[in-house]
Symmetry: C2
Subunit: 104 residues, 2 copies
Amino acid sequence: MKVFDLNETNIFERDLNKFLVHDSAYFRIINFNIKAGEVFPVHSHPVEGELSILVLEGEGEFLGGEEAATPAKAGDIFICRIDEPHGMRAKTNMRILVTIAPPL
Amino acid sequence: MKVFDLNETNIFERDLNKFLVHDSAYFRIINFNIKAGEVFPVHSHPVEGELSILVLEGEGEFLGGEEAATPAKAGDIFICRIDEPHGMRAKTNMRILVTIAPPL
């Protein structure tokens, strides 16, 4: 068993701050902190699998393909395939937790 | 893409309240709300894989094998193998998000 404390990564030094929580054969867990006004660019990977994006704090928009945007707030969990376009635009400072299974 | 709003499952009707967030070939995501003073009993399954337990709200103790107990508070992520003993004791009302990969 291991523990990771997200209270220790409440850091917004750069526009996009990345903290690897865990990486294994089963899943990769990453905390991203996105500064207000910044965008985690839409991307996708041509592999099998899914990812979840939990909004820990703040609000913004989940970005999909073809300029689709869905409001995102603390407590929302977005789930999509790894090969589907996904990104995030931060309206306020925003913290998200991404879980990728299986990892790329 | 699908969205699940954890604000809609802030419910403590029973001692242990379970809300399935997502289930697929890649991972299962479940929100458990545990009433103050209650225990999510220690258990394990003899299969490959790992699980993460994110404490969304509240505080208590992560329970492992042989009566091991580790303090747990909002923002902590516990990661263990599915075949390792794991459970949770709630000191206050506690909300956790469990991700199991691959699902049992």
